[in-house]
Structure formats: structure tokens, C-alpha cells
Amino acid sequence: MNRILLCLVIAALALLPVLPVTPAFWITHLNYVGLASLVVLGLVLLTGVSGLTSFGQAAFVGIGAYTTAWFTTAMSGSPWLALLIALAITFVAAYAIGALTLRLSGHYLPLGTIAWGLSLYYLFGNMNFLGQHDGIAGIQPLDIFGISLASGRNIYYLIWACVLLGLWGTRNLLDSRPGRAIRALKSGQAMAESFGINTARYKIIVFVYAALLACLSGWIYAHMQRAVSPSPFGLNYGIEYLFMAVAGGATNVWGAVVGAGLILTLKDQLQNVLPAIFGTQSNFELIVFGLLMVLVLQYARDGVWPILAHWWEIITGGSRCVRRHEPPTRAAALPQRPRPEAGKVVLEVDAIRKEFGGLVAVNDISFTLRAGEIMGLIGPNGAGKSTTFNLITGVLAATSGAVRFEGQRLDRLPAREISRLGVGRTFQHVQLLSTMTVLENVALGAHLRRNVGVVAAALHADRNIEAELLHEAATQLERVGLGEYMYEQAGNLALGQQRILEIARALAADPVLLLLDEPAAGLRYKEKQELAAVLGQLRAEGMSILLVEHDMDFVMKLTDHLVVMDFGTKIAEGTPEHVQAHPAVLEAYLGGIDDDIEIEPAPGEQAGTSAPGNAPAGVLEGGSA
């Protein structure tokens, strides 16, 4: 159904200029809409998908326009060469601005681009060879294969071909390995980094991509107008592009076209209608325009596109509700890294220490984890388990001591490098991309196992690799028992399922060592049993697992080896049986004789879950809940 609609839209676009009844004004208007759509498309990717805001897009349009204007008039060069030069200049400028501002959080990019937009505007207006505020006139129209694009009806095809190509490329990009990384930029940066995604690099890529689209738009604009002047490249227009993106719906590529069409038509109509209503004064358009935008945003915060999509769903009888059930096509399995022999030391924690001011959160903890072993790290609340976990995963820097993975120091490496070595992890607070499907979330985990460039992804040249990645993700999902939820949005899963999903994502990275932070929290009894079965199976395959956990029953049954912490110090270590009988552990969990109030089991689901005949564990979990 959606495909039919798309074909209809394209056919209508193609036929419009040929029909003699179409007024010339429509064509001109559509040309402007198309040019703006190109710029806004970049912003959709930048702002809507990646969560970065730029006000400086109009300046990039200006670079495209001014480069070709100057090059084809003053230098009498070819416009096609000018396009290449313009793209190169834009690339360098965008890369430099991105490298400067994108490393910073939040608001620096918008602010940096405001500065950039304003400065470039004043530069255009003051440079002698760019004609100062008068600009450059007398630009030649474009020629393609001897067909002149001087008339609006001819250049129309060039513009809309570019727009449709841009839409197609952007959609492809978003549906690929780099696309998943880009979609993680907005709300899951720390998570993405721990799966080996260089978020700073992807931010720059997105920014450059958006800038290049804007530059292309400017190049066509100059040849359509045959003249350029600084005013359409000022900050106001940069803001207007952002407006279009937000009004159209900044999370969907079609939002770009809708937004550009909506805003430009609105502005145009206001210019026609308002003088008729208010008499001679034509100043009202800005006011009405501003007020309308405020209202649109108050009532449709996500823009117009989601509303249109919703109506379309209603009309076509909810075509989206029909969920795809078949798994992705089978593909070759991804290469796996060699596993260490069973019994070989995988993780060695050597006297790590973390001090927060005067507080020693982790006090010279040492332990080793061998291949094919499940080790539990337990302790009462505030024992320093999570801090230890964060030291191992590189989230926190240790005050002293060392963490070695297969003989290599981990504690000096960023999270990204740690994952590259073969360490997978889950998070205590689930970190999923809730608007992406379960399958895509897991495929994100396999990011490092294949390499696909942005260009290849945009051109859809990555089909084989993409199939391999998705197949791997599907395999891991089947393995942990989430196979039937593959195309569900990750945010719709129950918390327990989300935790399992995190494990599947970690497995997709093909780790040697798996670090699990409270994997059983929030799971029902049966789910816990299933999880234990999965982890046991992984162990049999030679995986090494370190888990931090509260549920004693779960830990005691599953682990080979336990480390018990209290007040930052290791108080016991050994097999589950040994630890259960250890006096220091009983002291830590049950307290001294005086404060026996704390041993009352907390009312909660765990109280009923402990198996009979496992009394010490049953009491222990009361203290830890």
C-alpha cells in the first residue's frame, strides 16, 4: 500500500511539468520546496535522528551558491567543477566545525553554528570579489547532455531527482550498520561506545552529510536564480530550515519534504492573503507566521508527518499492524574470534582501588576469572559491587591497581577499545534504543564484527553484510528466547525481557568475556530459570561470565566461584558452598547479634522463590533485598 502511494507521488511529480495546465507558478514553488527539502533532509538526519541542532545550514547553502557563482563568472569555469570545489570546501568547513564543537555536550553545536552562520553571512556581504551586499549576477544556467536547464520546468527534474535520491540514500543509510550507530547518538551514547561505536566520529559524519546536502541545494539554487546575494544565506534562513524540519516531523525523512512544503506554502499564502485581510499593511505575515508556528508546536510537538502517517494508517486499515513474522533471510555466519582454552585466566583483577575523596569505595580487590567459568560478585547494598564493575568496564578510572584481560591492561582503555578486545556487557539500568526494533538493537551489538562505510550504506551496496548482521542478531535472539519479538519496538518489551535483550546484544558482539550487571533483576521465577539455562549453555561453549547479582538463589545455583564484598573490601571468596558457610559472610549479611532486626526477609517476590532446603540462601537474600 505504501509502495503504491510512493509510486503515485513520484508519477505525479514527474507528470506535473509536462501537463500544459500546470501553472508556471506551481513549478517555481515546487522548485523552491525541493531545494529546501534537500537542506531539511540533512537536518532530519542531524536533528531528528541524531539529536544535534544546527542553525548554520543556510551558510552551507551559501557556500554552494557562492562557490559556483564566483567560479563560473569570474573564472569562467565549468559549473560541474564548481560543484566539486563547493562540496570540498563544505566538507572541510563542516569537518572543522564538527570537530571543534561536537566533542562537547548539548548546546555547543547549535551555538557554534549560530556563530558560523552569522559570520559567513557578514563575510559574503563584505568581500569585494563576492560583490559585497549586491552579490553576483549573470550566472549561466546548467546544461545536461546538451539540454539547457534554463527554464523552471527543466531544472525541476534535476531538483526533484536530487531530492528523491537524497531521500532514498538517507533511508538506506538509516537502515544499515552505520545508520544504527547514528540512531544511537541521540539517547544511547554511553551504550554505543561500549559496543565499539565511535560516537564522536559518527556525529561528525552526520554533520558533514547534512552540510553536503545543503551545499548541493545551494549549487542548484545559484544556477536556477542566476544570481546570488547574501540575504538568503543568513541566520534567519538557517533558523527557517530548522523550523521546516521540526514542523514536518524531524524523525522521518519524508518529514523533510512535508515540512519544506508546509512552511514555504504557508509563507507564500500569508503573503497573498494577509494584505487582503488587513488592508495595505503587509507586515503582518511575520507575526501570523510566528504565532502559527507556536500553535503547531504546542499541538503537534513531533511535527505534521506522524499525524499524516497516522491518518494514512486509518485509511488503509492499519497496514502497519500486520507485523512481519519471518526472521531475516539466512546468511553466512559472521566470523568468530578464537576462544581461550578452558581454565586459562581471562580476567585478572589486581588490587584495584577506588577512592572518592576520603571514602574508599573499593579497597584493593583482587580476583581472577578463568575461561569457561561463571563468577559472581555479591555483597550487601553499598558494598562497592557496582563501583568494581564500573572499574572493570572502564566507566570509572581506578585510583590504583590493574585490570588485565588476557594479559592486556583494561583500566587505561576507553569503553570502545575494551569492547573491541572481546568484552561484552549489560547495564544495571537498561539502555536500549526504545524506538528501534528488538532485532536492530541486537544488530547494534554486532557493530564491530563487520565494516560498512557510510557511502556504501547510502547506496545500498551493503546488502550481503547487512543480511549477515541481521542473521546474527536473529540467531542470538532465538538463543535467548526472544525470537518471537524480533520486530517489536524494544521499548514495548517488559523490563525482564529488556534485560534479556541486553544479553542478546552483548552476545552479538561475539565476546570472550561477558560482564552482566544484575541480569536477573525484575525477572519472574520462570524467566530466571530460563536465563540461568542460557548462561549455563554459554559456559559450556567456553564463555567466561562475571555477574553482579542480588538474587542469592540464582547466584548460588549458577556460579562456579563467588567473591563477596562488604564496605569495599573482599571478605570471602570461593565456591558457593564455601561462601555460604563463611563466618564473615554471615556476619555481613545477617549482622551481629544486636541488630537482628535486619534479618527479617523483605516482603517481595524473592521471598517465595527460594527453593526448600536452601535455607542459608533464603535468609541471605532477605538481607540483600
Binding site: G106, A115, L118, Y122, F243
Partner: protein, 331 residues
């Protein structure tokens, strides 16, 4: 001296941002509204801000009435009616008597302030409060839309030509080789007083502390009984007051057009960026720097004045990027 104005605006922007997460681009419009309202009154005309306040007041009142009808909470409606209907109407009636050059400048200043300042909370109620929980981006875009609307209104009310207002204080002060106008000292003094007053407000008073609490943690502030709507409203009152006052201070030395506010506000913005939108003292210092830089660059290369001021952000950002090293997640 411009630096002092930028400092004030920078402070207001930082304040609005930390409390409400709104990047308040229309701040500059309050500058223009304040200055032009005063200019009109000094010239003996009733400014368009008088009916505008009346309309805004009525709209706010209707909005409050609807929400009161829905929640059946009538407490506070009297007060609402007072400031949304009574005050604008009173000003409307008084306006013809106050305008004109025969009334003292100070009366005009007070009257103009009374006109412009209530617009702050009213606009907050109308524009921002319904979407207070939206993302920073949506709030930003709404700010931009409001900026467009207010610029358009300014053009309708005050026309396209620029205005200057008479200085608050005449005379010169000789300081060795240089002569300063008394107005300069007046501006600097006022700015210093205002900054000091803000400092006392935030440090010593209950409302000031409530605002700071909201800035640190919105949800936490709400849990201890601070209304975020009240905080937002109060913040916008302050921002409007600072904006309008800045406009009146700067109008005697700079010709103000209907759209001048935007550029002045942006320079305040640059200053605020120095402080990373979070720190008041750095924002104030940055503003001084911007003012000085602007004066120097208008000597050497006046055409590139704006370019120099705005590209200044880049090294500052660079400096800050080496200062902070953390990855944060939005939303």
C-alpha cells in the same frame, strides 16, 4: 559600556535557560520593546505595546479561566484577574495622560517598564507553559517562532525607522585626559546595582532560592512544593525586566530599530556561552570582553565588526572543549 548591557542580557539568558530550559531568543525583543516604548512616550505618542498588553492580558485570563473551570480551583483567580485584566486596563486608561514631553522622563520610564515587564510572565503562560516539559529543541524552535512574531509586532507598532531616547543624566565627567558622559556612569552604576540585586535575590530570598532549586533539579523542586509554573513565570518577569531596562539604558547611545534587539540579544548570548549557559560570573566577564572587543573592532575594521564578535565564539568553544570531558545523554 555596551559590555555592561551584554552582561545583563547574558545573565538573563543564563537565568531563563537554567530554570526553564528555554533558550530565550526573544530576550532581544524585550530590549527593543522597552527602548521603543519609551521613545514613543517621550515623543508624545501612545505606543502599540499598550493595546498589546491588554490583548495578552485577556488571553492569559481566558486561559486561566478555562483551567480553573476544568480543575474547579478558584483560589487565586482574583489575583490573576488583577494582573491580567486590571493592570493592563489601568495602564490603558492612564496612557494618554502620561505620554508627552511635559511629563518627567522618570515617569515615562516607570510607565514603560510597567507596560513591558508583565509581558514576560504573560508570554510564558501563553507560549511556554503548555509545552514546559517538551525537549530543549522544541522549546528553542518555539522561541524562534516567538521571536519572529515579536519582531513583526515591533515593526507594526514602531515602524521601520530607528529611535533614540534622551539620556537619563546630562553632563560630562572629566577624568584626566578623557571625558566621559555622566550617562555612561549611570549605565554602569545601574548595571552593577542590578547585578548586585540579583545576587542578593538569589542568595537571600526564598523565591530566589526556589528558582535556584528549580534550576538544579526540576522534579526535586516540584516534590518539595515549588511550582515550576511559578518559577517559570518569575524567571520570565525578571528576564523581561532586565531586557526592558537594558533597552532603555542603551537607547540614548545607540539608535534602536524594531529588529535591533536580536543582535543585541545575540551578543548577550555570546557572553552567556562564555559561561557555558550555566555560570553567572563568567557570563558577566565574557560580556565585558565582548563589549570591549566590539569597540576595538569597530575602530579597526568596522565592516567586519560582527564577524569578529561572532567568530570569537569558536576559540571560546575550543577552550571549553579542552576544559570539559564528559559524554552526556540528552533526554
Amino acid at each position: 559600556m555596551n559590555g555592561a548591557i551584554y552582561a545583563l542580557l547574558g545573565l538573563a539568558l543564563v537565568l531563563v535557560f537554567v530554570v526553564t530550559r528555554v533558550i530565550f531568543i526573544p530576550q532581544g525583543e524585550f530590549v527593543a520593546f522597552g527602548a521603543l516604548t519609551l521613545a514613543y512616550m517621550v515623543n508624545g505618542q501612545v505606543p502599540g505595546t499598550v493595546p498589546m498588553l491588554l490583548i495578552l492580558g485577556v488571553l492569559v485570563f481566558l486561559l486561566e479561566l478555562v483551567s480553573a473551570l476544568r480543575s474547579r480551583q478558584w483560589a487565586g483567580m482574583g489575583r490573576t484577574a488583577g494582573w491580567t485584566l486590571g493592570l493592563p486596563f489601568l495602564l490603558y486608561l492612564l496612557a494618554p495622560y502620561v505620554v508627552g514631553s511635559d511629563t518627567s522622563l522618570w515617569v515615562n520610564v516607570l510607565f514603560a517598564l510597567a507596560l513591558v515587564i508583565p509581558m514576560g510572565p504573560m508570554l510564558y503562560r501563553l507560549v511556554y507553559q503548555p509545552v514546559a516539559e517538551a525537549s530543549v529543541l522544541v522549546l528553542l524552535i518555539i522561541s524562534v517562532a516567538l521571536h519572529f512574531a515579536m519582531t513583526g509586532l515591533a515593526l507594526v507598532f514602531f515602524g521601520a525607522e530607528g529611535w533614540r531616547t534622551p539620556p537619563f543624566i546630562d553632563g560630562q565627567v572629566d577624568m584626566g585626559p578623557v571625558t566621559w558622559s555622566a550617562q555612561t556612569f549611570f549605565v554602569l552604576g545601574t548595571c552593577a546595582t542590578l547585578i548586585l540585586a540579583l545576587w542578593v535575590f538569589f542568595g537571600k530570598t526564598l523565591y530566589g532560592r526556589a528558582l535556584r532549586a528549580t534550576a538544579v533539579n526540576r522534579r526535586g523542586a516540584r516534590l518539595v512544593g515549588i511550582s515550576t509554573n511559578m518559577s517559570g513565570s518569575l524567571t520570565f518577569t525578571l528576564a523581561a525586566a532586565i531586557g526592558a531596562l537594558s533597552g532603555m539604558l542603551i537607547a540614548p547611545v545607540t539608535t534602536i530599530y524594531y529588529d535591533t534587539g536580536f543582535l543585541i540579544g545575540l551578543k548577550g548570548f555570546v557572553a552567556a556561552i562564555f559561561g557555558g549557559l550555566l555560570s553567572y560570573p563568567i557570563a558577566a566577564t565574557g560580556a565585558m570582553g565582548v563589549g570591549v572587543l566590539e569597540s576595538f573592532s569597530s575602530f579597526w575594521a568596522s565592516a567586519y565588526k560582527e564577524v569578529i564578535v561572532f567568530t570569537l565564539i569558536i576559540p571560546v568553544l575550543l577552550w571549553r572543549s579542552f576544559g570539559s570531558k564528559h559524554v552526556d545523554d540528552e533526554e
